[in-house]
């Protein structure tokens, strides 16, 4: 229980759709469209970097499943999955959450940005900056131990995944039976 957290203090009880020991699913506190839902880890974290790997895995699976559910249940044309990570990103609650926003073609939401082409020079320079930073962040290379980096190294991820092959592959539920309109296909067709 974290003090000053509206989610931990259960201030939006009436919005909760589902809750178990790991996750809280609720109607968005400030919805962007009708049917906007928000997924919170039960434990208190503020940003994605703090969410432990196993909990993030679970949340990402839940997010995808709920996005599928909204497709099918609300018959929408698309979904956005948005994580507002930090105040400048628009995060308003101190509790980490994943937003699932159902989209209709005429909902008037504009989440695009200017499609300005970056110059090769600016790409080159930002690429260098990030790459150098990643090398520094690599725990194996930081001798002083000052830099904390709780995400696993790439090699570890691969290994870990090798061991986790056990868990089932699920094909998405694309059902054409019963003459039901297939919203996936619809959305596929629209893509240039």
């Amino acid at each position: 229980m974290t003090v000053n957290c509206e989610i931990c203090e259960n201030k939006y009880q009436e919005k909760i759709l589902f809750e178990n020991e790991k996750v809280i699913v609720m109607l968005a506190v400030t919805p962007a469209t009708s049917g906007h839902i928000q997924i919170f880890p039960k434990n208190h974290y503020t940003i994605i970097e703090q969410v432990p790997q196993d909990e993030l895995d679970y949340l990402s699976l839940v997010a995808n499943k709920l996005s599928i559910l909204l497709f099918e249940l609300l018959k929408v044309h698309g979904t956005n999955i948005i994580i507002q990570n930090g105040v400048p990103a628009g995060q308003t609650l101190s509790h980490f959450s994943i937003n699932i926003i159902p989209r209709r073609t005429d909902d008037g939401l504009k989440l695009d940005w200017d499609m300005k082409q970056a110059t090769p020079e600016s790409l080159e320079s930002i690429h260098r900056i990030i790459n150098e930073g990643m090398t520094l962040l690599d725990p194996a290379k930081s001798q002083d131990g000052n830099i904390t980096f709780d995400a696993p190294k790439t090699t570890e991820i691969i290994k870990a995944d090798g061991q986790e092959q056990a868990f089932e592959k699920i094909t998405p539920s694309i059902s054409n039976k019963n003459g039901k309109t297939n919203y996936y296909l619809k959305s596929l067709e629209r893509i240039p």
Binding site: G78, T79, N80, N85, L111, T148, P152, A166, I191
Partner: protein
């Protein structure tokens, strides 16, 4: 040669796609997919990370400087098509990329954005997770406020609860038409529950969760807190970003 290419692509555009299966659709799109070509190194890009499943590149049309695209090397159209193990892996890489951005680029937040379908603003036929740096007042991804009425809320609750219960593996009396698709998904959740989260006990004591030794990933958050802030320098402390709420 150029002419032949143009004729080819022209004829592909006019192919009637309405009766195509997802597989056929995928095959067609894969042929022309720029992101597949980048993954296969046929088109150059600024690659930041690459492993057997996922590749991260810099977006050439960035929303902000340092805009990263995380995507599976295999061609999938939308997130629901991605196998679960790849999906989970992608989000791990997203976390890594977000962390990297917070610590390397001058920013105090990141946006993580997925668009499923053109109605949601998807522009490429390959599923992409966008991770980009955010700064105060940059005006990106501003979500409007939608006024949901009491009735609408209640309706959503009524409509979704049985399905949510099914997804999470709880039997519900009002379960309506039991759909096969969601039942299969329910199965996978049970698997995950057993495989990945061996201890259920930490839910009762939230404060202890990060310190628990039986959590697979060792957490270093607490260490960061204990250390004096003398080490800072250029290093952005994640806790600072999390603490912007003043809570």
């Amino acid at each position: 040669m150029i002419m032949a290419d143009e004729v080819d692509s022209g004829s592909e555009n006019t192919v009637d796609t309405s009766n195509m299966s997802v597989e056929e659709m995928n095959a067609l799109q894969k042929q022309n997919c720029i992101f597949c070509k980048i993954a296969q190194k046929q088109i150059p890009a600024k690659i930041l990370h690459e492993d057997d499943k996922v590749i991260c590149i810099l977006d050439i049309n960035p929303a902000s400087e340092g805009h990263i695209l995380v995507y599976p090397k295999e061609h999938y159209m939308i997130l629901p098509h991605i196998p679960e193990e790849t999906l989970v892996h992608m989000f791990r890489i997203v976390k890594l990329m977000s962390n990297t951005l917070l610590k390397t680029v001058q920013c105090k937040g990141t946006s993580i954005f997925v668009a499923n379908g053109t109605a949601a603003g998807q522009k490429a036929p390959h599923v992409l997770i966008h991770v980009f740096p955010r700064r105060e007042g940059d005006g990106l991804l501003e979500l409007p406020k939608y006024e949901l009425t009491e009735d609408q809320s209640l309706n959503f609750k009524k409509m979704m609860t049985p399905y949510l219960n099914q997804i999470f593996g709880k039997r519900n009396i009002n379960a309506g038409d039991g759909r096969d698709s969601i039942n299969t998904q329910e199965k996978s959740h049970t698997t995950i529950k057993e495989d990945r989260i061996p201890s259920e006990s930490h839910t009762t004591k939230r404060e202890d969760a990060p310190k628990k030794s039986d959590v697979p990933t060792p957490k270093k958050k607490d260490e960061t807190k204990d250390k004096p802030s003398g080490k800072k320098g250029n290093n952005v402390d994640l806790d600072d970003i999390a603490k912007l709420f003043g809570a």
